[in-house]
Amino acid sequence: MSTKQRKFSIFRYNPNTPEKKPFMQDYVIEEVPGMTIFTALNKIREDLDPSLMFDFVCRAAICGSCAMIINGRPRLACKTLTGDLKGTITLMPLPVFKLIGDLSVDTGTWFRQLQLRTEAWIHTDKKFDPDAVEERMDNRVALEIYEAERCIECGCCIAGCVTANIREDFLGAAGINRVARFMVDPRDERTPQQYFDVIGSDEGAFGCMALMACDDNCPMQLPLQSQLAFVRRKMLAFGLLGK
């Protein structure tokens, strides 16, 4: 098993000390077989620079914490193998989201805002009866809901989307997909008009310009093109026909 030196070029900036301008810092470490950006960054922090900020939680492509721009593309750092990248590995924080420091960004606040704006919860007048048997649902419907629910809110689709980069209020593919999740859910009793109010505008469905960076970059491989189009068509029907 061979090892070689790998160079990392990493974005550095702490918004708490604005007098120190952003810069790129280089680190060289030994690359071991099976090394991911997760293991590499931890190695850099533990051996070379304990001040380096970045986020990981699950390190298994489940939680969505570790998205960053790796050699120009938004990806999950934990499932990116250094061996798959050529040359110097350049790491930048995701754009759009508020920078916390170095590679760490505040996706949490952004996504919580998104849930509030899209009212991303089941709207129903039914009361829960703990003693009743659950309502039935076709397994196909359950899987369809889950297909949209799989989004891990990593922000790759937002960071890669030019529209989201220039329009602060754009909900992005993750937001539109989130609404799609509720539209296919028979438990949600929202009317077409209510949905239209939420995303029947340039902040939602009509703001998307089909740039497809979302579809190309989603680490969960959500079918974002068809989800966006589905919502767009629904909004057309809701807006024109009211149903």
Partner: protein, 612 residues
Amino acid sequence: MMNYTVIVTDVLVAGAGLAGERAAIEAASRGLDVIILSLVPPRRSHSTAAQGGCQASLGNCAMGEGDNTDIHFADTVKGSDWGCDQDVARLFVETVPKAIRQMAHWGVPWSRVVAGRKVLPDGREIEDKKEKEGLITARDFGGTAKWRTCYTADGTGHSMQYTVDSVVIKLGITVHDRTEAISIIHDGETCLGVVARCLRTGELRIYLARATVIATGGYGRLYGASTNAIINEGTGMSIALDTGIVPLGNMEAVQFHPTGMVPVWILITEGARGDGGYLLDKNLHRFMPDYEPVKKELASRDVVSRRMIQHIRKGYGVDSPYGPHLWLDIRHLGAKHINTNLREIKNICMNFNGIDPVKDLIPVRPTQHYSMGGVRTNIDGAAYGLKGLFAVGEAACWDLHGFNRLGGNSLAETIVSGWVVGRKVAEYARDAVLNYSHSLVQGFARKQQERINDLIAGRLGKENVYQIRREMEQTLMDYVGIFRNGPDLQKAVAKFQELHERAQKIGLRSDGKWASPELTTSLRMPGMVRLALCISYGALTRTESRGSHAREDYPKRDDVNWLKRTLAYWKEGADLPELRYEPVKITELPPGDRGYGESSAASTGGNKANGQ
């Protein structure tokens, strides 16, 4: 002197995983003001990683027919090796079906029963009935008499966490994410809240509440190899321990899984061995038949794990920068089988290791998986020792799991205990009054500030925090793993005592300002070592084998002397926990034969009890 920001609320929940959020919802929907603190945004909590499922005796699917709460109860008690509190287990099994349905009402899609005939991999034919179609279905899990594990495709924890969080958002519950509780404020009798550190700015804040709930999850990451998220460092348990009055229960009960993939320790499911995979050593020799001629790789999880470690200790491990490991070989199963039936394994190998199990060997080693121990509470979730302090979820020792948790019972625990305990928290908080002295409260924050200042100024010493951490992780792996014995545990305890000393003398290498990650770890380090001491010292003292606690020198369960729960206290300035014991509550099912495991008469070698 500087005063710290004080935030006052009715109920404070530290931890936004399933357990914490579920408890918060219960309190908020009873009209109380609730604030949740979390290291990360709620939806990034480790609960989302649970893919397998959640147990509830709904009995809807064909293989679950006839299931009921009594069978679930018996499975749970046997799984715990009679270490659990049976009144808690009873309350749990009775509530789970309701909790699952409530999740469905809130939005978890749950996979549903599809009527029709099916053939199982082992050739058995079953039929799901028409009248059950569309109800919540279940899958098979270890240690259960019926198929009882409800799931949502391959993302059960994810869909549950997202749904529960959607209710939190709907109710407008305040969440302060990137905020770490670093100390519990109390006056010796009552818990008043916590001192928390902002992980955006490094600022300290004081949160005061009539009731405080610890829901901070497990401590898996004390071990060098764990399937857990890297934020699972047991901080909630250690701040409870630091009060000196709140005990941790059964910390020696730690669950392992045989095949975590090196070096990322992501779980490789048992399916790989179930379908015929081999374990090989550094000479590519298939060693399991040498130890277990009959069951080979398919002996029980704990047995396989123990044999693997034994073999590594003999020097047959494959050396790697991440420590010695063994190989899992599924190449002989063929590309077709691997690419269809074992696709998940293939994806994990490709994504996280760049290896293709069709042609390559998979590096594996037994890996820490779940912590049964935690903040000891009564059946209402109230922590021992302090009024107004509660604990739920993996952080708590409620005690549903005793010495071994059943797969699928921990997700179920989070929503059940969140519900039950949340109600008790609300009842308590409604009647309680927040009575505190300003100087006492500020003093707690000041004490933390002093630690921080000392670290930043480099006044304590020059120890490297990451070095201490690595030694702690390694020692736990080497001496307090799956396989335990007196001399090793002794070594571990001595090592941790040394590390505990050194952890007081950490010197930062960065400036430690703002949300410095090095400072964050340094603040946690002494507490983590104390937890490691609770685990190892508890294990050293418990001279029997029970559930996951397997002593080579005491291989039998000893109900005469050890049918009791360990309570670990930490007195300020001590270098060892003080251990006390309390009886385990047996109400319905007296200790007996589990029906599996090595010491069982009816052993088939297939210990199904250690589910995911």
